[in-house]
């Protein structure tokens, strides 16, 4: 049985280490925050200028001056720090963030990621996604294995405009986990969701990968 969205997030959470500073994208990656192991200190960065994202505020405690990069109201923690956008991205681009977990429309076998625009549709902009994939030490994509049309999202070569080229280190989908030790290596299938067979994943994957 394939993983649920929360299973994917829980699997991604197993990549966290004590003391990590992490930036989570929207969608499945947001769910990773609920799966941080007890006793582990993980600090979440919001690229609009905050380290130490707290949970959503209680009703009535929303603060218009306290939002995450998705423009949602959040709360602060005792260890929270605020800073400006230039400093925030200096931190990201300078390789000080340990890990980012992002969603994607497509990932290629070379580690390219596309998650910001669909040609012909209204362009909304890339926000901070290009900075994150280019700057953060380790980039994990958490996404459904196939699109709603049943097409593989882990492909030979991205058809959509790229967010970053050769930047992805690990891919976690509802069917399994692909990983590579460095950007020069191929991805290897290192884990299958319960009940998923090698044949099934091979049939549903456009990309070349080692087993």
């Amino acid at each position: 049985m394939a993983w649920t969205r929360n299973d994917i997030a829980a699997r991604a959470a197993r990549e966290l280490r004590d003391g990590f500073y992490v930036n989570l994208g929207i969608g499945i990656p947001t769910l990773v925050a609920n799966n941080i192991p007890d006793g582990m200190t993980v600090t979440l960065q919001s690229e609009n200028g905050m380290l130490g994202i707290g949970p959503f505020p209680l009703e009535g405690e929303e603060d218009a001056d306290l939002i995450n990069a998705g423009k949602q109201t959040i709360s602060e923690l005792p260890s929270t720090v605020y800073f400006g956008s230039a400093e925030s991205f200096a931190m990201i681009r300078g390789g000080h963030i340990d890990l980012t977990i992002l969603g994607a429309m497509e990932v290629s076998e070379g580690g390219d990621i596309a998650n910001w625009m669909i040609p012909g549709k209204m362009i909304k902009g890339m926000g901070g996604a290009m900075d994150l994939v280019a700057g953060v030490k380790r980039v994990i994509v958490a996404m459904d294995h196939c699109s709603k049309d049943g097409e593989s999202k882990f492909v030979q070569s991205c058809s959509l405009p790229l967010t970053g080229k050769g930047v992805v280190d690990m891919i976690i989908t509802d069917l399994g986990v692909f990983e590579r030790p460095d950007h020069a290596s191929d991805f290897r299938l290192v884990e299958l969701a319960p009940g998923v067979t090698l044949d099934e994943i091979a049939a549903k994957t456009g990309a070349r990968y080692a087993v």
């Binding site: 949970p55 218009a64 939002i67 423009k71 400006g84 991205f89 902009g125 901070g128 970053g164």
Partner: protein, 234 residues
């Protein structure tokens, strides 16, 4: 020297002209200089280029200047959820330069810091790199990005003293700090103006050297774009 003005209109008097470039603080609707944007709207100045991470939403923030047709070009990283923006963008009446958020912040910092250009890894291999100089340093490829220097900066702070020393509150700091530096002159609106000596000199986010004109814009009715809450037990 008095830098405190009674209204946004007075604070902007003599500073606006058609075709100028404005650097504008804020992230989404958080920390946007709404009083100053209203005064730009009222001034009727047109053909503006606005450097701002977002473009407001319909009828709020820079969305007002889009609706009035005063903006010719936006330099932004993300402009979702804005129908008027979409309409003008699709019919070609609004020019848009998309810029990765971190590159945008760094370009504005560079412009304000006397750096005409710098190299970054962000955007290499993407549409953003098209037409830009590529260069290898220590085995990695980078693209060259240019500093941005606007004609006038408009920002929103929390508190400022009479010398213009200013602090922001929580994530409302965002682009305000860097946009303020990216022009020869910055006009700031704040929620409270306090006497000199009130603010901790070690805790100023923006020294008064940048804040040449200042208004108190209170009271504010701050808008929330996406209200998310939790229940007690969560």
């Amino acid at each position: 020297m008095n830098r405190i003005f009674a209204s946004a209109e007075e604070a902007l008097d003599g500073l606006l002209h058609d075709g100028m470039m404005l650097s504008v603080g804020g992230f989404g609707l958080c920390g946007i200089p709404e009083r100053l944007i209203d005064a730009v709207l009222a001034s009727g100045v047109t053909q503006l280029t606005c450097v701002s991470n977002n473009a407001g939403i319909d009828g709020v923030g820079l969305g007002k200047l889009l609706r009035s047709g005063q903006v010719r070009k936006m330099i932004s990283s993300y402009v979702g959820e804005n129908k008027e923006f979409a309409r003008q963008y699709l019919d070609g009446s609004l020019e848009v330069e998309f810029c990765p958020q971190g590159t945008l912040a760094e370009r504005c910092r560079a412009g304000g810091a006397g750096i005409p250009a710098f190299f970054t890894r962000t955007g290499v291999g993407t549409l953003v790199a098209d037409g830009k100089e590529h260069r290898e340093f220590d085995g990695d490829v980078f693209i060259m990005e240019r500093g941005i220097r606007a004609d006038l900066a408009l920002i929103k702070g929390w508190k400022a003293d009479e010398a213009g020393n200013l602090i922001f509150r929580k994530t409302a700091r965002n682009f305000n700090q860097v946009m303020a530096t990216a022009a020869p002159l910055c006009v700031a609106e704040v929620e409270e103006i306090v006497p000199v000596g009130t603010l901790d000199p070690d805790a100023i986010h923006l020294p008064g050297i940048y804040v040449k004109r200042l208004i108190c814009g209170a009271p504010y009715d701050k808008k929330i774009e996406f209200r998310t809450v939790r229940t007690v037990e969560a």
